[in-house]
Structure formats: C-alpha cells, structure tokens
C-alpha cells in the first residue's frame, strides 16, 4: 500500500493496526524534518513522536486529503517553534550551519553526500523564512497548496516567494558551479 492508501485506511478504521502502517510511512519523514533543522537525535525523536500523536488524534480534521502533507508539515513546524521557544538562543545558530560533522557522517551514499552537502551549503545563503520554504518544497516535495497551508500564507505569496528564492539561489549556484549557459535558443528547438 502506498502512503495515500495507508492514510485512507487509518481515517476509515481508526485502528491501531492502521495507525502503525501510517506511522511507518510518516515517521521517518517527520523525524528527518527535525534532524535537518539542527536538532539532536533525542530531541528529533521526541518532537517527531509528538507530531505522530497529533496525527493520531487529529488527522481526521484534515478535510482535503491532498493537503495532508502540508498539514503534517504545519504540525511539525509548530512543534519546532515551540521547542525553540523553550531553548536558549544558540540553538538557532546551529540550525543555520551547513550540514557537517555527525550528520554529515550519517550520509549513506557518496553521491548523495555531495548533493545533500550542496543543499545545506546553499541554505546558509538564505533568510530563515526562505530556507524553510525551499526545504519544504524541494525536500518534502510539498505542492504550492501544501506550502500555503504549512506556512499559513496565500498560494500566490508562496509562488512569488519561491520564484524570488530561485532567482537568488540561481546567482549563488551559478557562481559555485562550472555549469555554462545552455546553447542559445536560436540553435535550439523551443
């Protein structure tokens, strides 16, 4: 069963068995959300468990199933904000640093290490709100509607912000990359 079917089954039956299947599908992603934002393993697990508990109690309130992932990320984001409010300021700085150290050591495949490191490095050039938008879009693969729900802003604002971030990153990435501009369209089929 894919994630959508697992979710439907849980919403239909509400049983612990169905929840366990949903847990297996969602928990790795929720935990990753917190790890990638600089939390240590224990804190990431605690917050991810809180999120899954909320999923159990309130998933039925999500009317549009297509927006479930956006809702899930919104719950995770709220948990993270509450966590940060309880923490001293230096934790914010940790979240801004490039992927390195123990987290970097956890990378599973060399090619992924390179790409994931690039991603983490690019994020350091962005403002916190921009970084959250890019992570939710390109790591969590949220749709524009899902992003609007997760970030609590209109869809048009999401599109505009994301476009501006892509413009900003395009300068940064092209500076750090050996890529050259594609052949000019006079010689291309457009």
């Amino acid at each position: 069963m894919d994630e959508k079917q697992v979710l439907e089954l849980f919403l239909l039956t509400g049983t612990e068995e169905a929840f366990c299947a949903l847990f297996e599908a969602l928990y790795p992603r929720v935990r990753r959300y917190f790890v990638l934002r600089g939390l240590d393993r224990m804190a990431a697990e605690d917050l991810a468990q809180n999120v899954m508990f909320i999923v159990y109690r309130r998933a039925a309130e999500v009317r549009d199933r297509g927006l479930f992932n956006g809702w899930l990320m919104k719950v995770a984001r709220n948990e993270l904000l509450q966590h940060w409010r309880r923490q001293p300021p230096p934790d914010w700085m940790v979240a801004f640093e490039p992927l390195s150290g123990s987290l970097g050591d956890q990378m599973s495949a060399p090619t992924f290490v390179d790409e994931a490191s690039h991603f983490a490095e690019w994020m350091t050039f962005l403002e916190p709100a921009e970084r959250e938008l890019v992570r939710l879009r390109f790591i969590e693969e949220l749709s524009y509607d899902g992003l609007a729900l997760a970030l609590d802003v209109p869809v048009g604002t999401v599109k505009w912000r994301l476009f501006n971030v892509r413009k900003k990153l395009s300068h940064i990435i092209s500076r750090t990359s050996r890529d050259t501009v594609s052949e000019y369209p006079r010689k291309r089929e457009l």
Binding site: P28, R31, Q49, F112, F119, F163
Partner: protein
C-alpha cells in the same frame, strides 16, 4: 516586470503551466533576447539542481528499524494512556449530570456542562480531558452556584474530582 514578462508569467512558464499563447510569446521573445534566455536557463537549472539536491537530502537521514519500532511503541503507549483517561473523563461527566439533574433538571444540567466547557480551555464538551479537567470543573462549580446554590455547587465540585 522585465521585457513585458511578469513574475506570474515566469512562475507559470518555469512550472510548465503557462497557456499555449503566452508560452509561444515568451519563447518567441527568448529567440531575440539573450538576457531573458539566460535568466530562464539559469533559474531552470537552479530548480533542477534543487530537485536533485533535495532528493539526495531526503536519503541522507537514515532511520533504523529498531529506532522506528521503539518510537512507534512509545507513541502507542501514549495513545493507550490517553484512551484510559478519556474513559474516566466520560464517566465523570455522566456522574456530574446525574448529580445535577435532580437539582435543576436533566436538560439544564446538560446545558450547564456545555456552558462550563465553553468557558474553560477545552472550549467544547468533546475536548474536555484529564489535562483541562480542573478549569472545566471550576467553571461548572460557578454555574452550579448560581443555579443550585452553594451547597449544590460544593456537591458538584466534590463529585467531579478525578
């Protein structure tokens, strides 16, 4: 807007969602405008790089089966604890209704319980839990004092202790 192309059009074009007429207009413009072509090319490449890097990042945080099972067990234990508390709360609400009904009537007792929930952090009878029980019961005691007198309110307070 640069060269007659708005941000909305750029977004739609980059997402492949621009209407055919507008897409043709942009692509015709690109043929004669190196600035716009280079901009499109750069942003499109950036998007592709972000897609690839995002995918890599998704695979970069491993989770062992043991960790998954342990976390699942902890969440399930929490759910079961919550379920026990919910049963206790429902039983106590029924008890309060039975205590108040002879003093003010069943309908009024039910309304008093709802009003007390609305005036407490639970905000609704359905959301009264062990965690927000005390403010709910305080609210109910105040209502009962008006409807049933201090003695009745005291009885409600004592009967409602979890």
């Amino acid at each position: 807007m640069i060269h007659g192309i708005s941000d909305q059009e750029w977004v739609a074009y980059l997402d492949g969602e621009l209407e055919a007429v507008d897409r043709d207009r942009l692509e015709t413009h690109f043929i004669g405008c190196a600035i716009c072509w280079e901009f499109f090319d750069r942003v499109a490449r950036t998007t592709a790089r972000l897609d690839a890097a995002g995918k890599a990042t998704r695979h970069s945080v491993p989770l062992s089966d043991d960790e998954l099972r342990r976390s699942m067990g902890e969440v399930l234990a929490r759910i079961r604890r919550g379920r026990l508390q919910t049963t206790e709360v429902r039983e106590r609400l029924d008890c309060l209704e039975r205590v108040m009904a002879p003093m003010c009537g069943t309908t009024t007792a039910t309304r008093a319980l709802r009003a007390a929930a609305q005036g407490s952090p639970a905000q609704s009878l359905e959301y009264v839990t062990a965690d927000n029980w005390t403010p709910f019961l305080s609210s109910l005691r105040s209502i009962a004092a008006v409807m049933c007198g201090e003695t009745g309110a005291h009885l409600v307070w004592e009967s409602g202790q979890l």
